[in-house]
Symmetry: C2
């Protein structure tokens, strides 16, 4: 993984993915006690940054390999990204998805043209099932984070942040990124290392599912005790990735955690102040900016909202809980 590979992925992505803006609100600045710059990847194709990594990986395949088809396992956003990017490349796609994934994500993945196969995420090993399927059907597995071309694709978020931060006059700041397996986090960290070294990435996870924060603190890979029970389903993974953890260990500051209720609060603020739809896992970085200000450094903070694929019932819960008083 180096900046040349990231620039090459950005070149393949250019014109096919959206360059999301960097948006602000004086109301968020007031809550956070510093200037808050939000990178809304919920506005990306398929509603999350995952379309970037999927495009990068699929566009990098040999044409004959690509034509045979791709497969992916995902809690939903990577699934939609792969389904979308595969369809745009005229490649078949099979998606292995947990049986408890939000209905919207499953329906969207199928509507984007992919075949969906389900598994139980508490009792079955998705990677074993996925690799078996890929072998039987001659499909190429697109891993959600432990895949160099996927990391290089997610890194395009970091290249854009570097440019947009320079335009906004931000030379030094914490960049808060929600973290599951670490593909987005490590990609952004690599891009910023090369293009905006004054910006430091910090991971944000749900309380009780803070494998990355603990791993960073311990200096060694630590697993989550459980994989179900968080509303932030999109960013719950067993442990940091093999490729991504060394990158995060080298480049990222201490990890942050937020509660489910703080994630819901951040969703309500994104609704009220930015007119954006964020999913719980996608809102944890904004939640940290708003609710962990004493743990963040600098006069400005950059926050990635990673996705907006949230079921209406969960979104309504955030509004009922946190937006009524406004």
């Amino acid at each position: 993984m180096n900046i040349d590979m990231i620039e090459a992925a950005a070149g393949r992505i250019n014109g096919h993915l959206r360059r999301t803006p960097l948006v602000t609100s004086p109301f968020l600045d007031e809550i956070a006690g510093r200037r808050v710059y939000v990178k809304p990847e919920c506005l990306q194709h398929t509603g999350s940054f995952k379309a970037r990594g999927a495009w990068s990986a699929i566009s990098a395949l040999d044409p004959e390999v690509r034509e045979a088809g791709v497969m992916a396992y995902s809690s939903g956003n990577h699934a939609q990204g792969v389904a979308w990017a595969a369809a745009k490349h005229n490649a078949p796609a099979v998606i292995l998805m947990p049986s408890d994934a939000p209905a919207l994500k499953r329906a969207n993945t199928q509507a984007l043209g992919a075949r969906v196969v389900t598994y139980n995420r508490e009792t079955e090993d998705r990677e074993a099932i996925g690799e078996g399927l890929a072998k039987d059907l001659n499909l190429t597995l697109v891993r959600p984070y432990d895949e160099p071309q996927v990391i290089a694709g997610q890194a395009s978020v970091g290249l854009e942040i570097a440019e947009q931060a320079a335009e906004a006059g931000i030379e030094a700041a914490d960049v808060l990124v929600c973290c599951g397996g670490g593909g987005l986090t490590s990609g952004i960290a690599l891009a910023l290392e090369a293009r905006a070294p004054g910006l430091r990435v910090r991971t944000v996870e749900p309380e009780g599912f803070d494998d990355v924060a603990r791993s960073l603190a311990l200096g060694d890979v630590s697993r989550n005790n459980r994989l179900g029970g968080s509303i932030c389903d999109a960013i719950v993974t067993p442990q940091p990735g093999e490729l991504t953890f060394p990158i995060m260990q080298r480049l990222c500051g201490p990890g942050l955690t937020v509660s489910d209720d703080e994630a819901l609060f951040a969703m309500a603020q994104a609704f009220l102040r930015l007119k954006l739809v964020a999913e719980p896992g996608g809102a944890v970085a904004l939640a940290a900016a708003l609710c962990r200000k004493e743990h963040i450094e600098g006069e400005a903070v950059v926050v990635v909202i990673s996705g907006g694929n949230v079921d209406p019932v969960m979104f309504t819960r955030s509004l009922i809980t946190h937006a009524e008083a406004s």
Copy 2:
């Protein structure tokens, strides 16, 4: 009003207002039966396009006049736009607002630094009250639509659509714009006349409040029978503007109307497919694209979502009514 004045306003706005993107979703295309390009002005500062016209008008004032202060009357979005633009110019602002305006709009206007004065929109004449206040306090009235510099500012939406449509390869299309007094509509129509003559503006209004559609059909100004009772509060005005109607009459195609329920449906689709928060009045153009396809011409349609300042209760209503099944 001419293109030079519009270009001058765009020059004053440049760097202070957001250039909103043009976004798409294959799911919306399928419902509409054609390609749908959405211009989300809900992502603009203050959550609506009104910040453009306010900035244009306030930035055009003589400095001594501006320092004395400005005032505005508005159902809410123009109020927030004027409050925001005035504060950015270090000018005091007084806002005359109907007593039944959504709580969020009133609170936001005050938080942006303006003084809010209320009136009853069914029994009192806001223009008489506003002009009296302006005279007593030596404030300059910034009219919501019948003001050339405001129209010129809203026209910057049209300049952006012209550029973005060209980039997307759209040479001919209907451009659907929600219409209250007609400032946004006439501004966009003037900009497109000069920069993208293949794009034709169509007004969209709530059923029962279709003063502009009837006026366009009659060739003469027609009033609404009532001013309360629509959920699309942001775009209910007594009649088309004196400056805006002749422009719309010359440049716009036949007006469209949608029901409250169709506006709620469009809000739910913006949530599900674009991850955007639209207010009812801001969603009527998208509603027309999705629900009036037999009245629209061409293989593509451009839709402006004009704002996203919606109370959580109303937003929840759109999700409960129209997003549960997804």
